[in-house]
Symmetry: C2
Subunit: 184 residues, 2 copies
């Protein structure tokens, strides 16, 4: 499995469907890096064009991998070590290509299921376990810009339970999606 997760802060929508760069939520970094470590993903790429936000992520990473936090909580160190920052989704893809020697298959996630080449969980599961590098990315704020969904190789079908309500946090949605795709 050559799986990469992405946490995307630009381009995403705000509540009024304007395109924004969202602020990094510290807890997202912790939750999703631990998820990545638990499920054997190779890296969590945190994407933001904002310099101060990339520095914030680097500071969190240093604290938990080199600073006091590394000895205070070694489990957390193991997770946070997987975090990399990237200026853009394109830069993240290039980084994966350099690492893996080939372009990753890019799968965007979206709660609407109305844009892009939709893929079922079963199909995505086959891809992830098939040996090609796969880059799955998650939008913050009110979700990934439709341009991102259109440019991705695939868009994963939305997560639903038995109701028609699917407003999960990115932390919960990422956990459910990775479990569905990777668990034995």
């Amino acid at each position: 499995m050559r799986l990469y997760l992405g946490l995307i802060h630009f381009p995403v929508y705000n509540k009024n469907l304007e395109t924004i760069a969202s602020a990094v939520t510290t807890l997202d970094i912790h939750d999703i890096s631990r998820l990545a470590r638990t499920y054997g993903a190779k890296q969590l790429l945190v994407v933001t064009p904002l310099t101060d936000q990339r520095e914030l992520v680097q500071r969190i990473k240093r604290h938990w991998t080199q600073g006091y936090g590394a000895s205070y909580n070694p489990d957390r160190k193991e997770a946070i070590e997987l975090v990399q920052v990237a200026h853009s989704i394109d830069k993240a893809r290039q980084y994966i290509k350099q690492n893996e020697g080939e372009d990753p298959i890019c799968i965007a996630t979206d709660a609407s299921g109305s844009v892009g080449r939709l893929m079922t969980f079963d199909e995505a599961r086959v891809l992830v376990r098939g040996g090609s590098p796969v880059f799955i990315y998650f939008g913050t704020a009110w979700g990934l810009h439709r341009g991102v969904l259109e440019e991705a190789d695939y868009v994963l079908e939305p997560v639903y339970g038995p109701t028609d309500y699917n407003h999960l946090s990115v932390r919960a949605a990422a956990a459910i999606i990775i479990d569905r795709l990777v668990r034995a």
Copy 2:
């Protein structure tokens, strides 16, 4: 399905395995109530013996169900409406009994898998879908006190991916567990 979720702040362990009442994390309330709403759970019971912490939860609930938040974000209102506070796990069970006319089957969750009557995901799935009231609870901080695990009817097997690392946040673990138990 008559499913209740619990978010337990006492008795739980801190990092040094001392028994504590943990502080409420606002984001937990949002994430897990949205999870409850998505998967058709009847209520999210937030358990804490600390008066100021119960008031904090009530204030969050009021803001998003009656205050400015209710009109700002109706989706969030639908989720937060499911939140109830309780002084203790016992009080939460009594509340469910009152609602349902019978005692719930109590399933505790734990990352260690070493204490209590362990139950597999397949077994728990049958229970949850069987029609009896079921109360599944999640520990905060470093996990539920072993007395809670011993007194529960069952303890759910831990969540694992393909690695031996299972240090997920309560937000991620709850999402994965509820998806495994409830999804069609």
